[in-house]
Symmetry: C2
Subunit: 513 residues, 2 copies
Amino acid sequence: MTHHGEVFKSLREHLHKTSLVSSAAELLGWDERTGMPAGAGEYRAEQVAYLSGLVHDMRTSPDIESWLDQLSDWSQASDTHSDIGATVRLVRKDYEKQKRLPKDLVEAIASATVRGQGRWDAARKADDYRQFQPALDEMISLQRQAGECLAAGGQTTYEALLDQYEPDAKADQLTSVFANLRGELVKLLDEIKGSSRQVDETLLKKKYPVDAQRKLSHKLAEAIGFDFNRGRLDETSHPFCTSLGPSDCRILTRYDDAWLPGSIFGTLHEAGHGIYEQGLPQDWYGLPPGTYASLGIHESQSRLWENLVGRSLEFWQCFTPLMKDTFDEDATAQQWHASFNRVTPSLIRVEADEATYNLHIIVRFELEQALIGGELSTDDLPSVWNERYANVLGVTPPSDANGVLQDVHWSAGLFGYFPTYTLGNLIAAQLYATAQSSLGDLSGMISRGEFEPLLNWLRENVHNLGRKYSADELVQNATGRALSAEPLVASLRERYSLVYDVESSASPCTSSL
Amino acid sequence: MTHHGEVFKSLREHLHKTSLVSSAAELLGWDERTGMPAGAGEYRAEQVAYLSGLVHDMRTSPDIESWLDQLSDWSQASDTHSDIGATVRLVRKDYEKQKRLPKDLVEAIASATVRGQGRWDAARKADDYRQFQPALDEMISLQRQAGECLAAGGQTTYEALLDQYEPDAKADQLTSVFANLRGELVKLLDEIKGSSRQVDETLLKKKYPVDAQRKLSHKLAEAIGFDFNRGRLDETSHPFCTSLGPSDCRILTRYDDAWLPGSIFGTLHEAGHGIYEQGLPQDWYGLPPGTYASLGIHESQSRLWENLVGRSLEFWQCFTPLMKDTFDEDATAQQWHASFNRVTPSLIRVEADEATYNLHIIVRFELEQALIGGELSTDDLPSVWNERYANVLGVTPPSDANGVLQDVHWSAGLFGYFPTYTLGNLIAAQLYATAQSSLGDLSGMISRGEFEPLLNWLRENVHNLGRKYSADELVQNATGRALSAEPLVASLRERYSLVYDVESSASPCTSSL
């Protein structure tokens, strides 16, 4: 082996060992959220903190810098989108980011996060924003400092924060695409509100036994391609997906006998995340070629299966017999489809339908930029929040608990995280539209339960590429164009036109989005 | 804080951190045996090996030796049974043991263990002892080397191996107590075989739905004192108990609708282990005062709840109404009791009843001493095994798969482990007899479901003491005399006399045991 080859091997082994520890820490987290006894929380926090400290030490080891320096003139790393080239490039990027953050700031943020979440939780329960405000002020100040340290290559402070979740994303570009989307969604929502057809809620209001929902969830996850030999589906109060190794993806959903869509779409969503994780190159687990591209891309995979596939009429044509077997319910595919596409503007993001969900996100995206940029003070935040909700969604929170206090994110220091949700929705629709053109009769395939062609298309165009391309590059390469709001709006219009009196395609003035 | 105090604090913190990592490794093991996806095994082995390596490095850190040296003249450590004194004494003992084992021998054993278990598994499936014999030879040779390295203070090679599981145990003393026990059990078994009363198998042959068994198991574990706020009960193929922290004890049982005693006594057994773990001083978790005394003591706690309590007539007087509620089964307490005390000599240790179980162990104890001592060759092992079974248990294995190949232990290098099972049975009976004298009407308490007095007695005399006393010292202190076979024989006779035509107390010539 050449000297460069040896050095790369050392780097790779070091990162492999780092993943062995970080994935063990993931298991501690998974277990905490699934079955850990209540009394075990304090010690578990110590375990997680200690392993996280080990991981941090390994990720900031000076050996890494030395190896990277020795690899800087390696011809095999010159193609920065090859496995080796992307590894060298992105490990250096991550390493330098870590180094730019002073250790005392990292510790201050960690400690403020624990405190902040505690304050947020108490304030939300007491419905008293003022209890939370000092912790929020502290967190904004710390995040601003972090963003200033991290900003590189002309990034704004906010973009530097965003870069942690959505590498290389540009705030201006998001603002522009989101503005188009907002205009279109508001129009769509008006049409739905004025529609003479409305969704019959009978099916949604029935009770469905949890045991039967559990069996259905397993069958649906397996049908769309989640591999149970390399993963599990469990139960929790806040659904999520985590990987504990290259062949150990855990997805979690929740069951409520009074709310069937919760488990079905929770499962399809998490299975979408899981299918992505299961499609990342296993040999590169824990290294850039085996890591997800961005949170937006991750979310695109969950939303694609949840909404583009799972809320389509064809999907319910395929699974109506299974619903009959499972629940002894005689509804038609059209009835299931309509029920699962009901639109009702509400106050709470996590309960929102597809027509309104992104409006919740856009409000947050605008407000968090203003908070980090210093244009909005936390004094004014609750009233500005309420105004925006009234303007954008047409609903006004009766109290801060259902308003500005509803999400945990800011209390946990997650500024720049919200936009990845909407990015996920946009990317999902754009990828799906391209897959549709490329695969021919995708609707027919779905109605017959043939999910493999779509899965293979995603494997090739998204999953197998890991983190070698940024989200922007990946979308451009896979779909032949830059990210746009058009495919999402088009897909929503097409789907909602089956249920409400809305135009099935966007009006001419928006086709240039 | 004094210099000694500071040094002790450093030692304690180091051991605390070591436990944070070792308990995370325990979670990896628990998860592997409960829900890990099949495809995840290879990476899981790497995770466990890496964390185990970290733990090994921490346990053999030269810092420990330096701290211990600095503490050697500390007055607060002079009482070797105080928390501090026992910590200093036992950490030194463990450290020196680790140091006496050459690293290449440790690695050779680790590698031979993986290979040996593989060979054993294949040989057992093929029912071909000769396939396993070379691996067994290699393991015996390695264990002999390990024993020679570890032997200290006049220990034989075998005792040095035994010391890993049963610190300070003397082979001669075990041989003598076991010989008494063997004589008594063979006599008891003859009486049972010749008994005109035999157990009606109707209740044992019925099917009991697994869901109902699961609920029953939870109720029984909770009733006897297993704290579900600090533990869980799960399902697995090979029941076990593991602690993932001072307040996180996981016990596992198995359910078979055709074998009710499997779940009931599996649960009571593991709950007994779990109750012990939950009673160890939490502040000293991972240090000698917060660690179990020996495997024999651990097993005594499982056997006490499983057999002395769980197989008593009073226990079934208490729980017959629950059995009726759970299984809609009208059996009387006497019928349940008789069913759960049926005796049938069999070939397989793990399926053995109480009258024969220890005979299985005694055969293994004798044979493994001869193997390590070189008096028995692996060529002769299968035939000697079969002879002993014919002699001692009156049954002859039809094949090695049900004979010498039935247990995994030797293939995994566990020489000196088997006797701890019988020690557990002996200690359980001796502790129970003392608790009975001390608490007064213990039978009455059990029949009323009052388990707390017994639990508190065990907390005080066993659990709260951790590892500060050896098993011998602990038994002597708690019961006022050295370990003897008499209490176990007496309790078996008393219990079996309710079911079979056996004398309810031992004959005079054995009362001096």
